[in-house]
């Protein structure tokens, strides 16, 4: 057990070491550049043009914009598994040292930590730029961090599961266009759940099956503290629960793919 844990730790260090080489670029892009652009568009221009200058709605529209960064960062941290499974299969060497279960858990843990760490500057950066338009008086920062952690975990487990089921890199495009894009665009990227429900109750009930909706609702609730959104504990519970489900599915699929015994 101790030996497994030390190997687990060694693999984790390796992943962080490898990621470090490109982290500067990715951190600059997704923790600084993209938030700055979203602050300008989703936080200021778009709500101003579409809805008039209302501070609360500016925030409601802007908060969900983090969903794209969550998905992209976690995807970048997870995708190496797919390329490895289809190419060099470094994983075969890892399998001689650690059980498939622990390898997948290590990958999910790494992707979660990586995604979470790079997401941290997103909102402080936005606050810096938006100033009073981004009203954080009612914000519960521990709740924000809790929702972000749970979101990073769920998305990482989901992405690792996707890596375990795909058989070719070109299938990634289909996953992005047909699954990921609709999920985050309709999962509260712009419109919160009460708006979806008001627009179409059928769509509203369907949205309850969309994990992104719980991320955006949890964050809106943590930032604004109003009862218009799902409560944070519910969102965190759903995100963690779904994360566990995807972890289980990834474990099963990975074992089926690499371990014939």
């Amino acid at each position: 057990m101790t030996q497994s844990l030390s190997i687990f730790y060694a693999f984790l260090r390796r992943d962080f070491y490898n990621a470090w080489k490109t982290t500067k670029d990715i951190a600059f892009n997704w923790a600084i550049l993209v938030p700055v652009m979203y602050v300008c568009m989703n936080g200021y221009i778009q709500p101003g043009v579409m809805l008039g200058k209302t501070s609360q709605l500016n925030m409601v529209m802007f908060i969900g914009s983090i969903l794209l960064s969550v998905q992209v960062l976690s995807f970048k941290a997870s995708i190496e598994l797919l390329f490895d499974l289809l190419g060099d299969r470094f994983i075969d060497y890892q399998l001689t040292l650690l059980s498939p279960r622990l390898i997948i858990i290590e990958r999910i843990f790494f992707a979660t930590c990586y995604t979470f760490a790079l997401l941290l500057p997103y909102y402080p950066m936005s606050k810096l730029l938006l100033g009073d338009l981004f009203n954080t008086q009612a914000t519960s920062w521990p709740a924000v961090i809790l929702v972000l952690t749970a979101s990073a975990f769920l998305i990482s487990a989901y992405n690792i599961f996707i890596c375990c089921i795909l058989n070719a890199p070109h299938e990634l495009r289909k996953v992005w266009v047909r699954i990921n894009n609709p999920l985050f665009m309709l999962g509260g990227f712009w419109a919160p759940w009460y708006v979806v429900m008001k627009a179409s109750p059928i769509l509203g009930y369907l949205s309850l099956a969309n994990p992104f909706m719980y991320m955006s609702e949890g964050l809106r609730s943590a930032f604004l503290g109003t009862p218009d959104f799902f409560p944070v504990p519910l969102c965190v519970a759903v995100l963690l629960g779904l994360g566990c489900v995807f972890t289980f599915l990834a474990l099963r699929q990975f074992k089926r793919r690499v371990d014939h015994i």
């Binding site: 652009m37 979203y38 043009v49 579409m50 809805l51 047909r178 665009m185 309709l186």
Partner: protein, 262 residues
Amino acid sequence: MNSWRIDARVFCALMKREWYTIVDTSKDSLIDGTVHLGVQFILIRFLFPTLGMPNSLIAPLFVGSIITILFIQGFTTTFNQVFDLQGPRVIDYYLTLPLRPAWLMGVYIARTMLSIAVTTLPFFFIGLPLLGSVLNLDLKIVTFSALYLLMLLCFSLWYTAAGFWYNLTWVLNNLWPRRIFFIFLFGCLILPWQAVYDFSPIIAYLFLWNPVTYMAEGLRASLLAVPAPIPIVASFGVTISSIGLGVIALKAGMRKRLDPVM
């Protein structure tokens, strides 16, 4: 003349082969386009108006969303291009054919234009009739066709050029956030220029630095019965200039990646 004839024959043979591939993958492209249309339709027709957006913005936003497809599908071109240059290098086989590089690039660009055009078909054949009553359509077929073809050409050129300019890691990590995202977000795709002007003239004038603004407004003017805030001539002018710059970028990219003697 003889060389031109050989070029044309090889070009046609390659295009025939590409046509088969496009027909073969058209089902996938149409599904992608339909999914994209579905998402945009729900957002623009239902969610944004419920949030408080005036109904007058539905039509311009929907037309703008057609261009988002060009951005998304174009990126696939760059990815495939870069992947080929760093991996299997099928392009080396093409370069051995009796075909001048400019013609070869013609094949690449025509292929990209066709594959993007197929993906946008659901927007025209399903999206426009679905939103019919809200759109207030006034199709100027010649203007629309000409501008749309030029836009396809422009996007194909620039995305192919990007495939020659950058390596795979850079494309995966940086192309979208550092190059495309800015042009995409601040190009009047998700907001019509007139509405931005009413909100803030300074921001609206800044948007005029982006060529996509002219393309989006031109497409709106050619499809909808709304007054065009930007003259259609300007849309054509900027699109053609962007194509010219795209040709220069593509030439430089080819020189950089394929053959320094070329």
